[in-house]
């Protein structure tokens, strides 16, 4: 089942990083759509429910690579 989940993002300081993270998350296998809102400090991911845990691990890793201070709150 395709699910849409929203996560809070902490210490997201730079709008350009948010755009980079969004792009990185979109490239993860199984992600249908992703949006990193710098203004709302929120991450929205649309993906298959079965793979969600796996995707979130990869997403957290991708974000860490771009902006190590920023954290996705599960």
């Amino acid at each position: 089942m395709i699910m849409k989940k929203v996560f809070k993002v902490q210490d997201l300081d730079c709008a350009n990083c948010a755009a980079k993270m969004e792009e990185a998350i979109k490239k993860i296998d199984g992600v249908e759509d992703a949006n990193m809102s710098f203004i709302m400090q929120k991450l929205t991911i649309v993906a298959d429910d079965d793979k969600f845990d796996d995707i979130m691990k990869k997403a957290a890793k991708a974000c860490k690579k771009i902006e190590p201070d920023c954290r996705i709150v599960f």
Partner: protein, 616 residues
């Protein structure tokens, strides 16, 4: 200010003092370097640390790295004061930027401060506060004066006034009494009311609206995608330019390395695209926030962009331009008495939700014995049929009469005519008329002033009624006697007729026109509160039913777009100017830092203007 921001402020002050001290002492040789390195370390350690860490992660062109290289480069070219000062100025700018973004985030979310925190439920005669999520359908919630209504429902006890302004922008409070519907997010003003919940919290109006506004940033405007794409190429290009500038001229002329490298460092400072990347979505979000304050919900920045280019506005008549509250103004029976005709019509329409049905039932005024009605049928765009006391009664327009073979005739009165046929024989007609909404004429005039080139009204009503309304409102085109399918077709034709860049806006009340709402460039649903279908199918929802909100929405869209364009042009031209001046050796690193953080702060402040909407 958050704790992180406060800590940064302290670092800035300490570093500044140390810089002044180092400047005053003005040691020579390595001691001089060391005295400047202290304030530099205080202000810039985290930037250097992040730069190193990000290089390890393969992130080369990030702003930390660029700032680190630029300032360390300044040290190497002997400009110690500049190295520290640029870092200091950069941090001041970043601090200000994060403060400004935080502030605007707060002011936007305070606009949407409609989320109820709790609901009161009576348990054993005592009021208990519970999470709105835990309340189920059918529960009775108690709302005291001054409290927010947590869930949609129907009043069962008490009289009061509710303030709907947070949802509709309408400042006049609405009176409620037992049996009136109330929606979540409104504030109860005068008396205690008890409400029977009709929707779970997740399905209630307030949750829907919050969801819609919060998701609006996922629908990106073209300007926003353009900027993110631009940013992706901009930084590498400028860095590449810096390398060429630092290496090529001294190689050719054979010397002056320090001077050219210094100019290259200026390039690096300007190469961060943050000002653009923040200010564009922030402006759109501000516009959306400002609109929602007026009771106009816009589902995404892309729709604001389209609204600003509105060329054709198509209105559905009923419920949009007219009140949709019909009243029976004349009854012309044939062979029956007036009361009999009205009774048959009311019975036939008993199951219909159409506004016409409601007015006939209201005119009949007596309670109806449902058992007399069998086989009710609603015939889209034509009317209704039902068996009443075993007789087939059809009520509807001329087309329906022709279908059942009744010999009908026109009425001399202008209005909506409901013809009635009993057992295929014409029984007379009922005249119903509708009133224009307050503000409909002004809305049309405003739209024309805004440069909308064509205003079209579509209606399922008869030619006379439609045309008389269209004439009163000064419409450019009126199409009457349309079935829902015809409306879709008509709008498709109009879409083909407009220019490539112009956009078509369709405004309807969301009942029966969901297909049209979705094919128009922008579907505007009016009086959207409580109608889920309308909220889902449309792109813009006007919460109350004031037609003047349409020109207001276009105004807001135009203003927002203007701010977006200002920001793009301003940021790009300042950066371009400083790049050129830097390459020529005229601009120094101070100008470069201004072109980076200074510009982004100004762009953010400009973006916040999008929030402020003057409600006419």
């Amino acid at each position: 200010m958050s704790r992180r921001q406060k800590r940064m402020l302290i670092r800035i002050i300490v570093s500044f003092v140390l810089l002044v001290v180092a400047k005053c002492l003005s040691f020579d040789g390595w001691l001089g370097y060391a005295s400047f390195l202290v304030p530099y370390a205080v202000i810039g350690w985290d930037i250097i640390w992040k730069a190193l860490r990000n290089i390890c992660h393969g992130q080369v062109f990030d702003e930390n790295f660029l700032m680190a290289i630029a300032t360390i480069g300044a040290f190497f070219t002997g400009e110690c004061t500049e190295g520290v000062a640029v870092m200091l100025f950069y941090q001041v700018g970043e601090l200000f930027q994060s403060y400004a973004v935080g502030r605007s985030r707060k002011s936007i979310s305070s606009l949407m401060d409609i989320r109820p925190d709790y609901a009161n439920i009576e348990v054993d005669g005592k009021l208990v506060q519970v999470d709105p999520d835990e309340v189920s359908i059918g529960d009775i919630i108690v709302i005291k004066p001054g409290e927010k209504i947590a869930l949609d429902g129907v009043v069962v006890e008490g009289n009061s006034f509710v303030d709907t302004s947070a949802l509709t922008g309408e400042s006049v409070p609405r009176g409620v009494m037992p049996d009136s519907e109330v929606i979540s997010g409104c504030i109860n003003q005068s008396g205690l009311i008890k409400v029977r919940v009709t929707k779970e919290f997740g399905e209630s109006t307030v949750a829907k609206i919050l969801d819609l506004v919060e998701n609006s940033s996922t629908k990106k405007a073209k300007a926003e995608s353009f900027i993110t794409k631009f940013a992706k190429y901009y930084t590498p290009c400028v860095v590449f330019g810096a390398v060429i500038l630092g290496v090529l001229p001294p190689l050719i002329s054979g010397g002056g390395w320090a001077n050219w490298i210094h100019r290259a460092l200026i390039f690096l400072v300007i190469s961060c695209p943050c000002a653009l990347v923040i200010s564009v979505p922030l402006s759109f979000f501000g516009g959306i926030g400002g609109a929602s304050k007026c009771g106009i919900l816009v589902k995404g920045g892309n729709y604001l962009e389209s609204l600003a280019r509105t060329e054709i506005v198509v209105f559905d008549k009923t419920g949009t331009l007219t009140k949709g509250v019909f009243s029976v103004t004349a009854i012309h029976p044939e062979k029956y008495s007036e009361d009999e005709l009205l009774e048959y019509a009311a019975l036939a329409e008993i199951y219909s939700d159409h506004p016409i049905a409601a007015s006939i039932k209201a005119a009949y005024g007596k309670s109806v014995d449902m058992r007399r009605v069998a086989n009710p049928q609603e015939l889209s765009g034509r009317g209704v049929c039902a068996e009443i006391d075993g007789r087939v009664v059809c009520a509807g327009n001329g087309r329906l009469m022709a279908e059942v073979g009744a010999k009908w005739h026109e009425c001399h009165k202008v209005g909506t005519i409901v013809h009635v046929a009993i057992d295929g024989e014409y029984a007379g007609h009922i005249v119903i008329s509708d009133e224009l909404k307050d503000g409909a004429a002004e809305a049309v005039a405003d739209l024309k002033n805004q440069g909308v080139s064509m205003l079209v009204m579509l209606t399922g009503d008869s030619k006379e009624v439609g045309e008389s309304v269209g004439e009163k409102l000064n419409m450019d085109q009126v199409c009457t006697e349309l079935l829902p399918v015809d409306k879709v077709q008509k709008v498709e034709e109009l879409i083909l007729a407009k220019s490539d860049k112009g956009k078509l806006v369709f405004t309807g009340d969301g009942i029966n026109d969901a297909p049209v709402l979705s094919i128009a460039d922008i579907g505007v649903a009016m009086g959207g509160i409580g109608s889920d279908a309308a909220i889902e199918a449309s792109d813009v929802v006007i919460m109350d039913d004031n037609p003047r909100k349409i020109p207001l929405a276009i105004d807001i869209a135009k203003r927002t777009l203007r701010i977006v364009h200002q920001n793009i042009v301003f940021a790009l031209s300042v950066k371009a100017a400083v790049l050129i001046l830097g390459a020529l050796g005229i601009a120094n690193m101070w100008a470069a830092v201004f072109a980076d953080v200074g510009v982004s702060v100004i762009a953010i402040l400009n973006a916040i203007r999008a929030l402020k909407v003057t409600n006419k």
